[in-house]
Subunit: 380 residues, 2 copies
């Protein structure tokens, strides 16, 4: 049976994936008097006197809201908040399993930027962090920026930064395998949505100097059609000469391709046109921009995908549980670029001797979230 | 050690009372592919095609948001959303323990009626019901009414209706003990906040014909000072002649006193002034309007309090878990007065032979939530 069918069946059998449990005993009237009235008045009073006590005395200190508006769920598009719930529940159980962070899905019945910002601000008191999820670009950029400015708890749009952290970790090791340095290489990113923008920004934070970004109309360039302010800003930085052209043109002589775009976008000829020992991250899921065997046959030195059935899976579950674990433990108010680079670097070092088929740890390796959390806390 | 100290200690040790658990296995890469990508796309697709599938395939069908603005937490007053969180977490674990309903606390950073309504509407897609909690009167009445009108999931302000259902259940049995009928008796309710209003409305729904309600200025009456539209409406109904006066005056010849007000409000003389075999529900917590031994010495036939260390505890945990369990299982859109009366009647019948010291079941009796849930479903 396919994963799809198994998933649908199990979701129906279990009525979703997460449930609430009590950390307190609840067997008799005394237990009730401690967990609830009259005893519960005491932690309430302590928090009323000192609001920061909420971090110690309630779930706030270990909880994250997984917030979506259902506008860009997986590759399924704008399917709405109810239909996004299985992904948000999935996120919540991954938070728990991999980092012991208690996350709860919040699926919003609005897709207006101002309203999403307002809704998240209103529900924030009960949470220690906000994981934005599957919100379409470019709205996601403004929502994240405004919430970061206006809230005193960490906010992260995982589609941007979770993926970017794992891509950077994998790229650090892939570059080690081929003996190149991030400062020297040229990277072509295909896809200028949340994932592409997050990757582009983080690679620059990590020292990259040469990049082209390609969307459905080709290389982004100031003044070209189909740009938004976020593409404009990036284009002004990476493409000051206003170069235009196709993906095939961008790839000529490039060292690295990173696709967060669509199946089959890259062919063998494009791979052959790249610099020696090209690195291919074909992250379109489930069907990559180019299949690994095809890319390798065309000369790719290292190939990564988003799939668990090929080597080098770029899986954001390597990043987000540990990022929030560290942020919650250190009560970090803002997750900075330096923390993201530190997290990527720590992840890459979990594979001390990277090889062509092993540039990233597995999510099931012991201690991944702790390594990431410690890196975030050290960078704070 | 007092309940207060034990509660504060345990809250600190456990960092709050609730945590998230997965209903899915999560041991290896296959599990991940079923719970999360790529498998999770299938339940998403099914819900996108038919939104009602969210009830079967996600936590929505068994989840309740416990929503507060922290404006009227226990007897502590307006202590804010963070300080209300221990109560909301407590509510959530009671939902789980007593009815296997998965509830999550939502503590809102606004006390504006319009904004609370808007916030709840925005977060509603992920929930199967809304339990409003510890929101001050009279704002709570408008918030509940508007949400009931505007949402297609059940909404209940527990401070009004949860308490009222248990009071009615207890009163049915207390009346049986003294051989009186609800149609014939006169009830005096002290306290015109959420609890008092909820009790007043439900007793009328159950057949009561004679009532006086007393607030801090005495009997409510149209045109008296210190009234709000909700008191006006009730006063027009119960007190058409516009009678005014003190609690002591109201109690003369009355059959039943129900206090949701303040410690020590009732003295022995007032009890002695009531009709034969008076019934006293002194629900101010933790210190009742009159202590049970004092009330009994003054001639009270049946005394109930909110405390677990006296007989006849009126505890709303007898009601709310089962009410929402029934509402979720039957996918009820609105919890009606008829359902509340049915729930109270079912609760009262769990004590087939009520006595002076046993008019209500214990929350720890087997099957309480199921009995309430079935009554709600039958009344639907």
């Amino acid at each position: 049976m396919s994963y799809a069918d198994q998933s649908a069946d199990l979701h129906r059998k279990k009525q979703g994936k997460l449930e609430i449990q009590s950390t307190f005993p609840m067997e008799n009237s005394d237990d009730l008097s401690i967990a609830y009235t009259p005893g519960v008045a005491e932690p309430c009073r302590l928090i009323a006197a000192d609001q920061s006590q909420a971090w110690d005395l309630t779930i706030k200190g270990r909880s994250v809201a997984v917030v979506t508006d259902g506008s860009a769920v997986l590759g399924l598009g704008n399917i709405g908040p109810e239909a996004g719930l299985p992904v948000m529940e999935g996120k919540a159980i991954l938070f728990k399993h991999f980092a012991n962070v208690d996350a709860y899905p919040i699926c919003l019945d609005t897709q207006d930027v101002d309203e999403i910002v307002q809704a998240v601000k209103w529900i924030a008191p009960g949470f220690g962090g906000i994981n934005l999820e599957d919100i379409s670009a470019p709205r996601c950029f403004e929502i994240e920026r405004r919430l970061e400015e206006e809230l005193n708890i960490p906010v992260m749009h995982d589609d941007q930064h979770g993926t970017a952290i794992v891509v950077l970790a994998g790229l650090m090791n892939a570059l080690k395998v081929v003996g190149k340095k991030i400062e020297d290489v040229c990277v072509v990113v295909a896809g200028a949505g949340a994932g592409g923008m997050g990757i582009a920004n983080l690679l620059f934070d990590a020292g990259l100097k040469h990049m082209a970004m390609v969307d459905s109309r080709g290389m982004i360039a100031v003044g070209r059609g189909g740009m938004n302010p976020y593409k404009d800003e990036l284009a002004a930085h990476i493409n000051p000469e206003g170069r235009t052209g196709t993906l095939a043109e961008a790839l000529k002589g490039a060292d690295v391709f990173i696709g967060v775009s669509q199946p089959g976008l890259v062919d063998e000829e494009m791979v052959r046109s790249m610099a020696a020992q090209p690195i291919i991250f074909a992250l379109s899921n489930p069907v990559p921009e180019i299949m690994p065997d095809v890319a390798e046959a065309a000369g790719a030195a290292v190939v990564a995908t988003g799939r668990s059935d090929f080597p080098n899976q770029v899986n954001n579950v390597l990043a987000f549980p540990g990022i929030f674990k560290g942020a919650l433990e250190a009560r970090i108010q803002t997750i900075t670029p330096a923390m993201r680079v530190a997290a990527a670097s720590a992840l890459s070092k979990m594979v001390p001797e990277p090889t062509v088929h092993k540039i990233l740890p597995s999510p099931f390796d012991e201690g991944v979230a702790d390594v990431v959390a410690e890196a975030v806390k050290r960078a704070a």
